[in-house]
Structures are given as structure tokens and as C-alpha cells.
Subunit: 234 residues, 2 copies
Amino acid sequence: MPTANQPADGKPAAPTQRTRDKAQSRTRMLAAARRMFQRHGFEAASMRQIAKAAKCTPGALYVHFADKRELLVAMMDEDFALLSAGITACASIADPVLRLSETGRAYVRFALEHPQHYRMLFMTQKPTIEPESYCEIKHGNPDKDGYAFMRETVRQCIEQGRFLARYRDLEMVTQSCWASAHGFVSLYINYGEDPWVEFGEPLAGAYACLDMHMDGLTGGEFSRLVSSQRGGNP
Amino acid sequence: MPTANQPADGKPAAPTQRTRDKAQSRTRMLAAARRMFQRHGFEAASMRQIAKAAKCTPGALYVHFADKRELLVAMMDEDFALLSAGITACASIADPVLRLSETGRAYVRFALEHPQHYRMLFMTQKPTIEPESYCEIKHGNPDKDGYAFMRETVRQCIEQGRFLARYRDLEMVTQSCWASAHGFVSLYINYGEDPWVEFGEPLAGAYACLDMHMDGLTGGEFSRLVSSQRGGNP
DNA sequence: CATCTGAGTGAACGGTGTTCAGCGAAAGTG
DNA sequence: CACTTTCGCTGAACACCGTTCACTCAGATG
């Protein structure tokens, strides 16, 4: 039963007035949702507010998105390209220790620039683990890709003997790298506005955490490498 | 206007039937709220569910707690006391570097032994809590406030020149210590059961993260200190 | 005993995410 | 062109949510 939008032969159909309108609506809704989510957070932003900002009724949102969470996920998919871009930019760095450090920096920059997105990805309780719907079908789980990228870099560091001898457990070291990036930014996202803790410039704090961790892993070689790089290439 | 509960002279009144009932109700409500918050999270747990679990009506909750947020705060106060007890138990350790390390270890043990408590305390998005609503007494007092205790220890480390020269910012270093403990345990609590990250023994991983961080801060002096301690006192 | 007090009730208010019969204009078909 | 089908969208609901409030009535007070 071919439709105008998706013919049976799979060839792209000529965009009709209706399909163009629908795409436009979707874009408008997504933009409105981004504004609301970033301004008020996921819970506080309501579908009615988003609908009003997108100049439609709440029900219309459900034509394009199954539920509120999918609206957020669709929104995050767009911005996730930034994290992927940052990480793939690090892939060109030859030295695995420096590459690992830069990967962490790209990671924390993403977290601090998109705190609400980061919260949804890495700080919320996953309701249920659905292996089919989440992990594989979703054009490759970006979390797993990032993790795998980091693990591969860690593997090279270990193979080249760049880490202290006691840090040989690939999974554990990879997780410690992830944790060194996640720890500070997740605390900042939760308590950055809290008067209870006086946070300074978050990026500086996050970078410092990464550096301390890298020095702990390498026995201080990381800092010496960085300063020699800086001294050698002024 | 003295009441049976709080006479004007400040002397404790004899507990009447009513005051005992009220305290009992409060305790029952708090226990029900803890169950619900830990099971479903702050947002998903509803006042109606809590009321049903506490065998009362939703309105009765508002006799004891101003709103949902205050119910959470009352619950967190109890859990914080448990955590603070574990942290301040390290106060007897003379060496501030070792004391800081042991503080971190106590922190991650609490997190891994009470993952639901920890999630509620440090991993959920909380409504902003004004300082005046919070226990002012605890805030800033190293005996009661774990963060203040850690900061005081960090201050001693800095004053004794135990950290590398570039780590002189008291707040930032304290936050990095917190982050080094929080990072791994929060990831483990979220992804420990997830099939796409293979976690090993969580306590070992968390301790390793702490050690790397301490070595990064001290330029490796921490590990040398620990091994000399171990060698000196076998 | 009469009086007062206050913990608890139950219904309501305005919000929330989500669903769905039906509308009407665009698209497809003869 | 006229007829039928398609489908994005509306508006009204549904079942919840946190919170309020007039009211009740057992226990404390005098």
C-alpha cells in the first residue's frame, strides 16, 4: 500500500505540499522544545507550553513524537553530533595519552554546554533495559561508540606502557577515565546553582580533574608530556 | 501561648497521647516517602502514593511537611547524618593526605552500600533548596557537614604543601576530590547492571579512581606514602 | 463537665502527559 | 473536473499530579 511519502519501490517521492508542511511543523516543534527544555529543564517544561511555543495544540506533538521523552531524544540526537564531532576530531591525535586527555576535554565541554542533554543521557535512572529498542537499532548507540573509542585509546596506552604498571585492567581504567570526566560535570550540573557549594569556573575545574586523573594514571608523565609539548612547540 | 508540646518555659512537656501519635505518623510518613523516593525517584513518586503507603490521605502529609520538597529534605537529613558519621570517623587520622584518602573511601563505601540512598542524595535533580530551609547548623561545621570536613582536610594539605603547587584553589581542589569519589560510584549505580559496560568489582574501581586522583594531586607522593606506611607498619 | 485544639479527611482547583473521534484540506484517481 | 482517500491537526476528554481548605471529631485543657 504505497503512500505519497514512502512508495513501495523505496525511491524518494517528490515532496508534496503536505510533506513539506509536516517537516516544517516538526522542525518548529523541535525548536520550541529545545527552547523550553533548555530554559526550564525536562520535567518543568510541559507539552502544553511547548505546543503553545510551537503554535499548535498538544495533540499535534504526538503526530510527530510518540511521547515527551522521544521529543527530547530527537532533540538530543541533533546535538549529539557535536560530541561525535569533538571525539572524532581527537582521533587524529597520534599520541594515545594526549588523545585520551583531549577526548575527556571534548566530553566535559559537551556536558557543560548541554547540561540538560547530559543529564538525560548520563544522570537519569534508566527505566528499563530494552536491548532491541535502545542499543542496536538506534543507528548505533552513541554512548557505546564513545565508550568503545575511549577503551581503544586506553588499550593503546596500556600496550605502549604509558600507564603505571598497576593500571593494566582495560575495563577498569576506561571506566576510571569516564568517571574522571563524569564526576565533576555531573556534580556541577546538579549543584552549580546551589549556594551550598561555591563552584568556580566549571570548565577549569573539570579540566583539572581530568589532568589529575591522567597524572595519576601515568605517574606524572602526562603533565611532563604536555609541558614538553608546549615548550617544544611554542 | 503555651501548648502541650512546647510550654512557654521551654521545659519538655510530658508526651501526651496526641504528641506521641503525631510523632508516630511523621515517622510512618517519612518511611513511606523514603520507600517511594528510592523506588521511583523524586518526580515519579507521588504524594498520593506516599500517602497510601503511609495509610493516610494526601492532605495529612501537609500537616507534617510544607510540601513535597520538604518531605525530601527531611528524608535527606537522615541519610546525610549516616554519611557524615562515616566521613567524620576519619577525623582521628593525623596525616591530612591519608585522612583525605580515607574520607573518600568512606564516601564511596556509603554510596556502594546504600546505592538507592546515594542516588536520592547526589544523583537526582532536586528542586532548589534555599539555605534557610536547610539545617544551618550543619552547614560549614566540619563535625556535621561532610563537605566542610573534606574542605578542612584539603586546606591542611595545601597549607602543609602536600599538593602540587598548581593545586592551590581550596574550593576547586575540594570539589575535585568530591568528583573523584562521585564519578565512578554514580556511573556504577546507573550502569552497573547495564550489559554494554562490563563493570568489575565496584569497590576496587572506586578506590582506584580515588588513588589516581590523590596521586595526581600530590605528584605521586600519596602512593609513596601509602607504601611506606604499609612497609613501616606491616 | 464544657471548651478548645489540631491531626486528619475528602472534595475541590488548576495543572500535567496522553488519547481519540472527527474535521477539512491536500493528494490520489477516474 | 468530480469523487474518494489520506492524514495532520483540533478540541474535548481521561487519569493522574501537587496543593488547598472547610470541616470533623478524638483527645487535651480548665
